[in-house]
C-alpha cells in the first residue's frame, strides 16, 4: 500500500466511524480505527481547541517533523463529535503564512528597524516607568486563560492601572450586562446540550450556520436522525441559517426589543405565563433615571401595565413583523410542553440597547417558564475562542477582577490583594477605561485631557475592528506623545501604525487554556516551535514585569518583596522564566492557571484542575469533586437536578440574585429609537458582520490561500431593486458613505445574505476595505458596547474606470 492509498484508507476509516456515530449515536465498535491508523503513520497527534470561534471544537492536530501537517475533528470531543468547519480544518495553515512576524521591530520615521528582545522589553519598561497611570493594555478573548490572568495581575497589581479592556467589549459585553442584570452573575445557565434537546430554536439576529457552523450542524443533524426541531430565524437579512429554518422573520432594525415585549404581552394577555415559576423564582424590575444596571423594583401589576401597549398590532407597526407572526411566537412561548432555546450573538449585543434586549429575552424565558429544563434556555454565544474563559471569567475588562468580582467593590478588591499577597490598596479603586473611552483618550492630545499615552495591544487588531476608526484610531498617529505597542503574528492594520511591533507565538506554538461559550474549559500543549524569534505573549508580559522589578519598580513586588510572578519548580526553587531560554523549563501555564483557579470558587464558577483538563476534551464549570474523587461538570446551572450549588428542595435557585433572595429579575424596558436612522441624505440602513470563510478581521484566514480564494475581498450587498434604481450592476465599484467616512467597494447584488430593499451589508474581514471607517461608536449605556449593526448610509454610483473589466 503506498502512502496515498494509506491516507485514503485512513480517511475512510475516520469518516465511517463518524458516520456510524452520527447515525446510531455511538461508536461502531471498541477498536479506534483512527488511532490504530495513526499509530502506523509518522504523524504525531494531539488535541487542541480550534483557534477560531467561541464554539470551541476540539481538533486533533497532526505534527510531522516539527510542522502541523493535518487537522481532524476530535472524535472524543462532545462539542464537535469528530467534525470541524471549513475554518477549523484549515486551522493548521494559519501558522504558515509567508509574512509571519519573526523579529521585534521599532518604528523609525516611516520604516521599521529590527531590534533585539532586550531592547524591546526595555522600551516598554521605560514607557511604564515614565507614566504608569497613563499606560493601558488592550487584549481579547483570543488570549488564553493564563495569559489573561497574567495581564490582569500585571496591570492591577504591578502597574497599578485599571486601563485594561479587551476586544470582547465590542463583541459580547451586552451579554455580560444582560446576565448580571437578570441573574446577578455572568454566563449562560444552559449549555450546547440545550441544542440537542430543544423543540424550537430561535435565532435572534444570529447566523450560526456561518458563524458557529459546527454548533448549527448539531441542530440540523437532529432532523436527519428523524427528530423534529423547528428553527425560527429572526434577523435583518436572510442568511444560510434561513435556508434551514421553517420561519424567517425579518424585522426593522432595532425593533427586536419590541418583538420581545410583544411576546411578554401575549404571555400575560393569554394567561399563558408560568405562574408557579414567576411566583417562586422571579422579581420584576424597571428602569431608573439616570439608568442603572440595578434598576428599581416594580410590581407584577406595574409590569403588566407597562407591557399593555405592546399588542401584536402595535409591535407590527414598530417592527414590520405581521401581528400573526408575533402571535405565533407568543403561542410557542405559551406552550409549556415545548422546549425552547433562544440563541444570540452580535445582533443583540452590538446594539445601543444591548443590555435591554438581552434582559428582555431572558425575561420572556423566565416569564414563560422556559428555563432550566434541558432544551429550555436563553443562551448567548461568543465570537472569540476564549471570550468566556479569558475575558468574563478571568475578568480582563476595565471594571472587573477574576471570578466575577468587580473593582468598585472594596471587599472584592481585598480578596484579590490577599491572594496576590500585595498590600491593601494596591489595586486602584476606580475602574479603568472601557474600549471606546480608552481609544478616545489615546486619540486626544494630552494637553486636552487625553490621559492614555501608551497602549500595548495583544491578540487583536483594533486598527480594523474598532468602530469609527477616523475618530477612535487614526488621530493618535499624529500625536507625538502617544506610543502604540502591538504583539501579533502577522502585519495587520494595527501594526501598520505601531511604534513597536513584537512577534508572537500562536495557537499550538504555545501551551494554552481556553473557555468556550458553554462554560467549557479546554487545555492544550505546545506542539511546534514558533518561527524565528517569535515568542509567547505570556513570556512578553512576564519579561516586562521582571525588567520593571529589576529596575526597582516597587509594585512589581509582593508584600514580602518577592517578584509578583515568582514561578517555582517542584522543589520550591524559583525558575527565572523571564529568561526565554528557561521559559519551557516549567509549565508556566499550569502554575498561573492553578494560581487563578481558587479565585473561581467565590461565585461558584469552579473550573477544573489543570491536570484533570489535560485528560479531557474540556469540562463545563462549575466542576466539583465528588466523594469518590471524580471531577463532575455542570450542564444546567441554577437547576437542582444538575447544579451542585442549588439547595435541596429548591428546584431552582438563582444563588447570585441581584435582589439577594435567590430570584431572577424580569425587566421591563421600553422600545426606543436607534442612535441613527436613515433619512433623506443617508437613506440606507448599513449593517456589518462576518462571512463563513473568514474569522474576525481576517488576519489569519486571509492567509489561508483556499479561504482567501473562496472569499477574496469585501463587498456591499445591495438589493436588486435598489441596484436597478441607482443603475448599479453586479461587481461595479461604488462609493459607500456615512456621516463618519466613505469608501469604495464592489457591489454584490443580493449577495449571500439577500438584504431587503433599503438595507446594505458589508463584512469587516478585509483590511483593504475598512468598513469600520464608517461605523458608529454610539454604545449601550451599561455595557459600553458599540452598535455595528445599524447606521445610516448612502450609496453612489461612481462609474467604471479605466482598467476595470
Amino acid at each position: 500500500m503506498d502512502r496515498r492509498d494509506f491516507l485514503k484508507v485512513s480517511a475512510m476509516a475516520a469518516a465511517t466511524t463518524a458516520a456510524t456515530r452520527m447515525a446510531y449515536g455511538q461508536e461502531a465498535g471498541a477498536l479506534d480505527e483512527q488511532v490504530a491508523d495513526r499509530a502506523a503513520d509518522t504523524v504525531e497527534w494531539n488535541k487542541a481547541p480550534c483557534r477560531f470561534c467561541g464554539v470551541g471544537c476540539t481538533l486533533q492536530v497532526g505534527v510531522d517533523n516539527g510542522r502541523v501537517v493535518a487537522v481532524s475533528g476530535d472524535r472524543k470531543a462532545e462539542v464537535n463529535q469528530g467534525t470541524a468547519c471549513v475554518k477549523g480544518y484549515h486551522a493548521g495553515s494559519i501558522l504558515y503564512g509567508a509574512d509571519r512576524l519573526q523579529q521585534p521591530l521599532k518604528r523609525e520615521g516611516d520604516d521599521f528597524v529590527e531590534i533585539t528582545w532586550n531592547e524591546a522589553i526595555g522600551i516598554i519598561a521605560d514607557r511604564i516607568e515614565e507614566d504608569p497611570e497613563k499606560f493601558a493594555f488592550y487584549g481579547s478573548g483570543q488570549w488564553t486563560i493564563p495569559e489573561g490572568y497574567a495581564v490582569q495581575k500585571f496591570m492591577r497589581g504591578g502597574v497599578r492601572s485599571n486601563h485594561l479592556d479587551p476586544n470582547a467589549r465590542l463583541c459580547m459585553a451586552s451579554a455580560v450586562t444582560g446576565f448580571l442584570a437578570v441573574y446577578g452573575v455572568d454566563e449562560p445557565a444552559g449549555t450546547y446540550t440545550d441544542l440537542d434537546e430543544c423543540d424550537v430554536l430561535i435565532n435572534w439576529g444570529n447566523n450560526p450556520a456561518e458563524m458557529h457552523p459546527v454548533l448549527f450542524s448539531r441542530v440540523v443533524d437532529r432532523r436527519a436522525k428523524g427528530e423534529e426541531v423547528e428553527i425560527i430565524d429572526m434577523g435583518l437579512r436572510r442568511s444560510r441559517t434561513t435556508d434551514h429554518s421553517q420561519h424567517f422573520i425579518r424585522f426593522n432594525p432595532h425593533t427586536d426589543i419590541a418583538i420581545a415585549l410583544g411576546i411578554a404581552h401575549l404571555l400575560i394577555e393569554n394567561d399563558t405565563y408560568d405562574k408557579d415559576f414567576v411566583e417562586n423564582h422571579c422579581n420584576f424590575r424597571g428602569n431608573t433615571d439616570p439608568l442603572t444596571l440595578q434598576g428599581e423594583e416594580i410590581s407584577f401589576e406595574k409590569f403588566k401595565e407597562e407591557i399593555q401597549k405592546y399588542t401584536p398590532e402595535h409591535v407590527e407597526e414598530l417592527s414590520g413583523v405581521d401581528a400573526d407572526t408575533i402571535r405565533m411566537l407568543g403561542d410557542r412561548f405559551g406552550d409549556p410542553d415545548l422546549r425552547i432555546t433562544s440563541l444570540w450573538c452580535m445582533g443583540m449585543n452590538q446594539h445601543t440597547r444591548g443590555t435591554a434586549v438581552n434582559s428582555l429575552v431572558h425575561g420572556i424565558h423566565l416569564l414563560s417558564g422556559h428555563f432550566g429544563r434541558p432544551g429550555d434556555s436563553p443562551t448567548s454565544l461568543t465570537g472569540q475562542p476564549s471570550a468566556c474563559g479569558t475575558v468574563r471569567e478571568v475578568g480582563t475588562l476595565a471594571h472587573a477582577l477574576p471570578g466575577g468580582r468587580v473593582i468598585a467593590n472594596e471587599e472584592e478588591r481585598g480578596h484579590i490583594e490577599e491572594h496576590w499577597n500585595v498590600p491593601e490598596g494596591r489595586i486602584p479603586s476606580e475602574p479603568g477605561y472601557h474600549t471606546v473611552k480608552m481609544w478616545e483618550n489615546f486619540c486626544t492630545p494630552e494637553d486636552e485631557g487625553g490621559d492614555v499615552n501608551t497602549i500595548w495591544v495583544q491578540v487583536t487588531n483594533p486598527g480594523q475592528s474598532m468602530p469609527n476608526l477616523n475618530n477612535l484610531f487614526y488621530p493618535a498617529r499624529e500625536l507625538e506623545e502617544k506610543f502604540l505597542i502591538v504583539s501579533d503574528v502577522y502585519p495587520t492594520a494595527t501594526t501598520k501604525y505601531a511604534d513597536l511591533v513584537l512577534p508572537s507565538a500562536m495557537w499550538v506554538e504555545k501551551n494554552g487554556v481556553y473557555g468556550n461559550s458553554e462554560r467549557r474549559t479546554q487545555q492544550w500543549f505546545k506542539m511546534v516551535e514558533p518561527p524565528g524569534d517569535a515568542r509567547e505573549d505570556l513570556w512578553q508580559v512576564l519579561a516586562v514585569a521582571r525588567e520593571l522589578y529589576d529596575r526597582g519598580f516597587e509594585t512589581m513586588r509582593d508584600a514580602d518583596g518577592e517578584f509578583l510572578f515568582r514561578i517555582e519548580d517542584d522543589d520550591g526553587n524559583e525558575v527565572p522564566v523571564h529568561n526565554y531560554n528557561r521559559f519551557d523549563e516549567v509549565n508556566v501555564d499550569r502554575a498561573l492557571y492553578e494560581e487563578y483557579r481558587p479565585l473561581t470558587h467565590y461565585k461558584q464558577k469552579n473550573v477544573a484542575p489543570y491536570d484533570v483538563l489535560v485528560e479531557k476534551r474540556g469540562l463545563r464549570w462549575p466542576v466539583v469533586e465528588t466523594e469518590d474523587g471524580v471531577w463532575e461538570e455542570t450542564e444546567f446551572r441554577f437547576a437542582e437536578f444538575d447544579d451542585p450549588f442549588v439547595d435541596e428542595g429548591a428546584e431552582f435557585q438563582f444563588y447570585h440574585s441581584p435582589t439577594g433572595d435567590d430570584r431572577a429579575l424580569i425587566w421591563f424596558h421600553p422600545q426606543e429609537p436607534p442612535a441613527e436612522e436613515p433619512d433623506d441624505d443617508y437613506p440606507f440602513w448599513l449593517s456589518t458582520g462576518r462571512v463563513l470563510e473568514h474569522w474576525h478581521t481576517g488576519t489569519m484566514t486571509m492567509r489561508i490561500p483556499q479561504l482567501r480564494r473562496a472569499m477574496p475581498q469585501a463587498y456591499v450587498e445591495v438589493h436588486r431593486k435598489d441596484a436597478r434604481r441607482l443603475k448599479i450592476s453586479d461587481g461595479e465599484t461604488v462609493k459607500l458613505e456615512t456621516r463618519r467616512g466613505s469608501m469604495e467597494l464592489p457591489v454584490w447584488i443580493n449577495g449571500r445574505g439577500r438584504v431587503p430593499e433599503g438595507t446594505l451589508f458589508v463584512p469587516f474581514f478585509d483590511e483593504r476595505m475598512m468598513i469600520n471607517d464608517l461605523t458608529l461608536s454610539d454604545h449601550d449605556p451599561h455595557s459600553k458596547q458599540p452598535d455595528y449593526k445599524k447606521c445610516a448610509a448612502r450609496l453612489q454610483k461612481i462609474g467604471r474606470r479605466e482598467g476595470e473589466g
Binding site: 480517511a11 469518516a15 475533528g73 480544518y89 450542524s217 440540523v220 432532523r223 473562496a710
Partner: protein
C-alpha cells in the same frame, strides 16, 4: 492533492437519497463508503485544495438529496499545509 474524509447526510426521501448516492458514485474524485442509515462516509481526493474546498462548500451541498456535509478529516500534502 488533499484527501478529505467527509460524512454526507442524505435526505429522508428514499428516491432523492438514491439519486444522490448515484451522483456521488459517478464522481471520479469520490470514493463512497458504507452507508450508515442516512449517513454516508466518503473520501474526496481533489487536484488542489481549492477544488476540495469548492467541492465541500458548493458542489456537494448542491446535489439534490444531500442535506449536509460534515468534514471529519483533511490530510494535506507535506509542506503545503
Amino acid at each position: 492533492m488533499p484527501i478529505s474524509g467527509l460524512v454526507v447526510t442524505l435526505s429522508d426521501d428514499e428516491q432523492q437519497s438514491t439519486e444522490a448516492m448515484a451522483a456521488l458514485e459517478a464522481d471520479d474524485r469520490i470514493t463512497v463508503g458504507d452507508r450508515q442509515k442516512n449517513r454516508l462516509p466518503i473520501v474526496a481526493e481533489t487536484g488542489s485544495i481549492d477544488e476540495g474546498h469548492r467541492l465541500v462548500r458548493d458542489e456537494l451541498p448542491d446535489i439534490e438529496g444531500v442535506v449536509f456535509v460534515d468534514v471529519v478529516t483533511v490530510k494535506f500534502e507535506k509542506g503545503r499545509c
